[in-house]
Subunit: 511 residues, 2 copies
């Protein structure tokens, strides 16, 4: 650890006259102490200056060949990477001994630590350990780098994530088959291009899957949009790849619309990192992110106002009921979309083509009946009709990717998020229960009023996060469903208009 | 037989100074001799005058209750009537002893009769009896009432039946359920109204069936359009009755377009007779029609020109090939029409309604999500889309009777006629073979050149009839198929236009 090198991700201005070291994004530091505590590390910059800086502002810096190259390159497209134990949970990596600033509070904070970590550990362990032990009861101050801060605001439309100030788009395009190990292993790389940086990167399904895992791990109250299902067979078929591209695009679109996810460092790393070495470093940093799970609530800046428990309860109940109602309906419509997609491409197409064949065969048989010109024009008309229905059959095959498939993709994401909501609500509920436990402790004078107040504030921060997320969830999905429905109907209108036109042309050819 | 009463159907002016009796349509005569021969009967009119008149100009007159009332009224809707032996084949009814006019030819005609009916009877019996013994070798002159005459003309478009001079239409409408025997027996009566007389009659399926039998029996070289298939189950269901009405209409339309069928007395009787008693008389007259089967060729007036055997052979071969080619293709398209009709009314309808339900259920679930007005309008949009697809489902159920069903009905008739054609061609071929037999007989001097010439002329008349029929068959079916296809396409265009409009309306409701 003594010789560990790190790279500054952000600028940090150390307070003049203190032990703090100012750092500049990009510079390499050698870590001299990682056991300073409270998120501080000590290190030496390339000018030989030594001082303290926030550990969250730097990332590991590797200049040797990455030793887990093989693991990463293994062909597991579609299957999840081996579970990674976030290093943030490693006591060696995230030391929490009091910093200088907190020494004066140590008399107050010690009893809590004691009441939970010693005397009452067994009694509270189930709840405490499962949810937010590291947060609700964590009185230690954490340094949160500015870019990692998540703000919640109150507006006339309710509690909201601070909106995205500079919305951008990100295109998933040009899936291409690539191979390595002299063609022994092949995979599909999708081009990912965000509009704000215009950097083109290539990502495989497993990269998306890794990103997805990080986001789920990091944001316990945000239903992260699901990835398309794994599909091991036929995954190099053009149609499958094209569809997966669209599904990944829908996933990316959904991320980008989210005020928190779209600003998350792991996503930014995923979307912008072109350098192989930096990619690996960023990957490891994300995996040992300090602010994952409940610790992420440390990064939230919420309104000071104490949340009215009745209002909160009502919001949560409404949301739970909504999720319950919508769950089956979304599944029904999604299954219908999948079913219709298949039917258009299979039986419907075949039916129209069978009709086409019947007309065409009749036309062929009428040919040369001896009735001269009448039969000639009739033969032509019948063949034209045959061709028309054959074309309409082909149109049925082509159509779903314009209407049913995108609708199904939207619904698949919606369904995935809906199905995460019970966990989200449950997680929140457990926080509420823990708060109640603390109230009981305070009543029994096992917790000081100041400690309880601190727990209440933190519980409110969690609730603010939930409310902001519910709000986003409602409005984003409403808009997204509307948009999808409009596209669906537009495409359907266009489809039937084209069929009408085709038939009109066939009819006109009979005059 | 002595007291048999007949009613004159047509006027007949007896030659003054001869034994002939002038008769006026409608008057009642008492037959005194039906064994005069050569189509002549002797009878007495109500003024007491006695004389000879053509038997074909009168019909049986009944004033007592019809003794086969029960048989006729029996409930056998859809099944054929018990086979009727045409009385025309009864030697008692159609005596063919020479008339006064033919007595001078008796020396010539006797050897033929002898050569076939006595000496060579066994040798020729198979061909002779099966085809046209009564016609090709029948030298007796027949009185053909003017209205019963069928003319064949030659035009630049080939040999044709004399076209219909006053085309008319005939509407089959208002099927209604009626019952007799105090409701114990019930049946459907269809209103039949020809435009030329505007007389409304009511006919049951069994009447159509009876008519159909008479026409088939009478015209050996005309493929009589088929009736709709018998259907014993569900025959009182509204949908079935409506469809049968349309099928009977198509049958009637096809009859009416035919220059020979449309003028046939049995059809005119069917279409115009309103009186119960007259109906029964006409029915019996039709059943003992003198000019049925090959005897019908007596009624044909064909061009004098001798037919070129090569041209004839070519026409016949082309027709046979055409029939062979078209047969399967018509069946394929007809089966497709039936299949599409069923699918539109069943699975397609259900599919669209399932889609409708999925949207509607999603709309219901989105209701009251807590996202306020956004969700309210989304809910409405989803319900509108649901209703739209539900309506489109219903449209699929209603549609076939506008497009696939009429097309299928047309094809069913076409297919029936196509399938009669091999018999027609075969019948003609046998006539040709008989002519060859006669040529051989003439070569062996067992037949006089004059007799052979007479046989050749009659064979040509049969061939003229075939050529006229082939010509009608081609052109009528070409036109009919064209008309049907146009209607089909127009209805399809209209259908898809309506679907497009419905979807556009749903789309607009989202703004």
């Amino acid at each position: 650890m003594a010789s560990q090198k790190v790279q500054a991700m952000y600028d940090f201005s150390g307070e003049p006259g203190s032990a703090e070291l100012s750092i500049v994004a990009g510079e390499i530091l050698t870590v001299t102490r990682s056991d300073v505590g409270e998120g501080w590390w000590e290190g030496t910059n390339q000018n030989g200056e030594t001082g303290l800086f926030p550990a969250a502002y730097v990332q590991a810096y590797e200049d040797q060949q990455d030793y887990w190259d093989d693991e990463w390159d293994e062909e597991w497209e579609g299957s999840p990477p081996p579970p990674v134990t976030p290093m943030a949970k490693d006591p060696l990596m995230i030391p929490t001994i009091p910093s200088q600033n907190d020494v004066k509070n140590s008399e107050e904070s010690l009893p809590i630590s004691e009441s939970f970590s010693r005397k009452n550990f067994n009694r509270y362990s189930t709840i405490v350990k499962s949810v937010g032990e590291g947060y609700l009861l964590d009185e230690a101050k954490r340094f949160v780098p500015e870019p990692a801060k998540i703000r919640i605001i109150e507006t006339e439309h309710g509690v909201m994530w601070n909106p995205i100030d500079e919305p951008y788009s990100c295109v998933v395009a040009q899936p291409k088959k690539e191979s390595k190990l002299k063609g022994f292993k092949s995979f599909i790389a999708y081009q990912v291009t965000p509009s704000n940086t215009n950097i083109q990167v290539y990502r495989r399904y497993k990269h998306f899957d890794w990103l997805h895992e990080r986001l789920k791990e990091k944001y316990t109250l945000i239903p992260v949009p699901p990835l398309p299902d794994k599909q091991m067979t036929g995954r190099y078929e053009e149609q499958f790849i094209e569809h997966r591209k669209n599904q990944l695009q829908a996933f990316v679109d959904c991320l980008i619309r989210h005020p928190v996810l779209s600003r998350s460092s792991v996503w930014n790393h995923f979307m912008n990192c072109t350098d192989d070495k930096k990619w690996k470093i960023g990957k490891r940093n994300a995996e040992k992110d300090e602010f994952i799970g409940d610790m992420n609530f440390h990064t939230i800046e919420a309104p000071e106002r104490v949340i009215n428990p009745c209002t909160l309860d009502q919001e949560v109940t409404t949301c739970a009921r909504f999720v319950h109602n919508v769950d089956g309906a979304v599944k029904f419509l999604m299954d219908t979309a999948i079913d219709q997609t298949k039917k258009h491409m299979g039986p419907y197409k075949k039916e129209f083509q069978k009709v086409g064949q019947a007309f065409y065969a009749f036309g062929n048989a009428m040919h040369n009946d001896g009735a001269g010109t009448t039969s000639e024009s009739l033969t032509n008309a019948l063949r034209t009709i045959g061709d028309t229905y054959n074309d309409i059959g082909r149109m049925h095959e082509e159509q779903p990717k314009l209407d049913w498939e995108p609708l199904g993709d939207m619904l698949q994401i919606y369904k995935g998020m809906i199905s995460s909501m019970p966990d989200v609500l449950n997680h929140h509920k457990k926080t509420q229960m823990k708060k109640k436990e603390c109230e009981k402790l305070a009543f029994e004078q096992k917790m000081t009023p100041a400690q309880l107040e601190s727990v209440s504030r933190r519980t409110d921060i969690v609730s603010y996060a939930l409310l902001a997320e519910i709000n986003h969830f409602y409005s984003d999905n409403s808009l997204e469903v509307s948009k999808s429905l409009k596209n669906f109907l537009q495409q359907q209108v266009e489809f039937y208009r084209k069929i009408t036109e085709k038939l009109e042309t066939a009819l006109q050819s009979m005059d």
